[in-house]
């Protein structure tokens, strides 16, 4: 019981830090708030990649779904004149829908084959958007996306127009909300029977079938949640940058999302989040090394594989428990 109590205390402390202290301390620094917001958005996207890991698939196509989400949101807002608050869920759902359609075909593949085909997916979607004519704006993408407007229900203002408040702080809170909601979504998924089923798909598909598990269905559930999170993250990105281009999310980003998961640790829901925040913030601090980012990422990837196969969180930081029964220590840890 004491353990639960201290855990709860840690969560509360963390929430206060994230939701109160940080936005207060940095309220005068749009740059810092922007970095934190971006980290949160990337966390949401990477969390999707993490979900596909739980069914034993390495998803290198998440850039495609972030791109789809970003463009769907941008098109909804600029072309159809919809509110951001409608465009955001639409973006997530369209991404998830595309994920289901593609997943029906590609989720049969495993291992490197799945990884390879999802890499090509990242590229294929980029090319499709590049050639999307006036709808997607081609190479110049969609710019001048207005910031989210007011959200009100029966005359009651739930969220003020972002333009009328400290816009950067508003985006910070939006990103924090999306991140916490995503964590809640994934945590519920993993704590329920579905989490166990996902883990079973990772460890023995045929066996699961013989136990009456409809593997096609559960793979699709996992993948569509992954794509949904990718779409939501992409839509947030488009809104915050007020623009989106075919090059906003590319293959290299897909690989980065995977790296976030590895760095934080695949066995933890918090893994991709820790990875996303650490790497995003580190690269902002080491600004002058930006050109070497890919190189550093590559070295980091190799280093993690060799010395820290279960990620940073396996170093037993008590605060970040969240150990889903889903993907315990991954098989890479055999050695």
């Amino acid at each position: 019981m004491n353990d639960t109590k201290s855990k709860l205390l840690a969560y509360v402390a963390f929430a206060v830090l994230y939701l109160v202290v940080v936005p207060l301390v940095f309220s005068g620094s749009p740059y810092a708030l922007g970095v934190f917001s971006m980290s949160a958005a990337l966390s949401v996207i990477a969390l999707g990649v993490w979900v596909t890991f739980t069914i034993g698939r390495i998803n290198l196509g998440q850039a495609a779904f972030a791109l789809i989400g970003g463009f769907v949101a941008a098109i909804c807002i600029t072309r159809l004149g919809l509110s951001f608050w409608i465009a955001l869920p639409v973006a997530g759902l369209v991404s998830a829908g595309v994920g289901v359609l593609l997943g029906l075909g590609i989720l049969r593949l495993r291992g490197v084959y799945f990884a390879m085909i999802t890499i090509s997916l990242s590229e294929a979607v980029r090319l499709a958007i590049l050639n999307g004519g006036s709808l997607t704006g081609g190479a110049t993408g969609i710019t001048g996306i207005p910031v989210p407007g007011e959200l009100s229900l029966f005359g009651l203002v739930l969220i003020p127009d972002f333009a009328s408040v400290n816009t950067h702080r508003a985006f910070y809170f939006l990103s924090a909300f999306l991140l916490l909601a995503s964590i809640l979504l994934v945590w519920r998924l993993m704590a329920s029977r579905l989490g166990r089923v996902f883990a079973s798909l990772q460890q023995g598909q045929e066996l699961s079938q013989s136990l009456g598990i409809n593997i096609t269905k559960y793979r699709l559930i996992a993948f569509s949640v992954s794509c949904f999170l990718g779409g939501i993250g992409g839509a947030f990105f488009a809104a915050m940058q007020q623009s989106i281009y075919p090059g906003s999310f590319v293959v290299a980003d897909s690989i980065s999302f995977t790296l976030y998961c590895f760095l934080g640790g695949l066995a933890y829901v918090a893994g991709p989040i820790v990875g996303a925040f650490l790497l995003t913030i580190a690269f902002q601090l080491l600004h002058e090394f930006q050109q070497y980012q890919q190189l550093v990422y590559a070295l980091l990837m190799i280093g993690i594989m060799m010395w820290l196969p279960n990620g940073l969180l396996s170093l037993r930081l008590p605060t970040f428990g969240g150990r889903g029964s889903a993907s315990r220590e991954v098989t890479r840890n055999e050695a």
Partner: protein
Amino acid sequence: MKPDRNSTPSLLDVKGLTRRFGGLVAVNDVSFSVKPGEIFTVIGPNGAGKSTMFKLIGAFIRPTSGDVVFEGKSLVGLAPHQAAARGVVRTFQETTIYREMTTMETVRTAFHLQCRATSLGAFFNTRQARADEAEANRAAEEILELLQLQHVRHEQAKNLPHGYLRALGIAMALAARPKLLMLDEPFAGMNPEETDAAVQMVRRIRDQGITVMLVEHDMHAVMRISDRIAVLNFGRKIAEGTPQEIQNDQNVIDAYLGQEDEELGI
């Protein structure tokens, strides 16, 4: 205990079942029936088509021709999970397990078919979902007890000794509450004492009302445990009958048993 072969309707009817792999006919026009409550064993030399037969019955692969009728309804064309939902569950020849799951998690996963809550219900942790979880826990404990796995309930499968893995495989199959349980070589690699215990276990499973089909090479165990035996050779059924009948069947002795006299101890 012995089912009356003429009056009881059969649980499983295999009718003219054939499966080709390219030019090879792995299962060739095989027919037999399994009665409820029986222990029915399929024997035959390596490559005779026994495992293929199990895969056909469990709908893991489709027959080239012929039919598999379970409780009066054909299983052909179903997905494996649908066959499992009808009550046909098999364990695996290879000790296929969920390596990273503990014994308890494994059995609870295998409880999937008993869960009434929908996926969405499970996600929102509805009352039904919580009832499912409680029931799964209870049933899992019961199965662990039956198979004497209680003391390793929190051990990951990859850390379990081999003897336990087979019990774990059976625990999983039981959690799925099958009507027909197909065990592929459950006694392989066991010493005589382990085999004795396993034979007892299979009997206990049958006594719970589960019909059991076995594929097994350990003739001594087969002869002791089986109500009836079918013999496959090069995909064809060459004999069917009680252990006694099979032991005295000239076809079987020529094709199979003859070469293995020592093993048989007959």
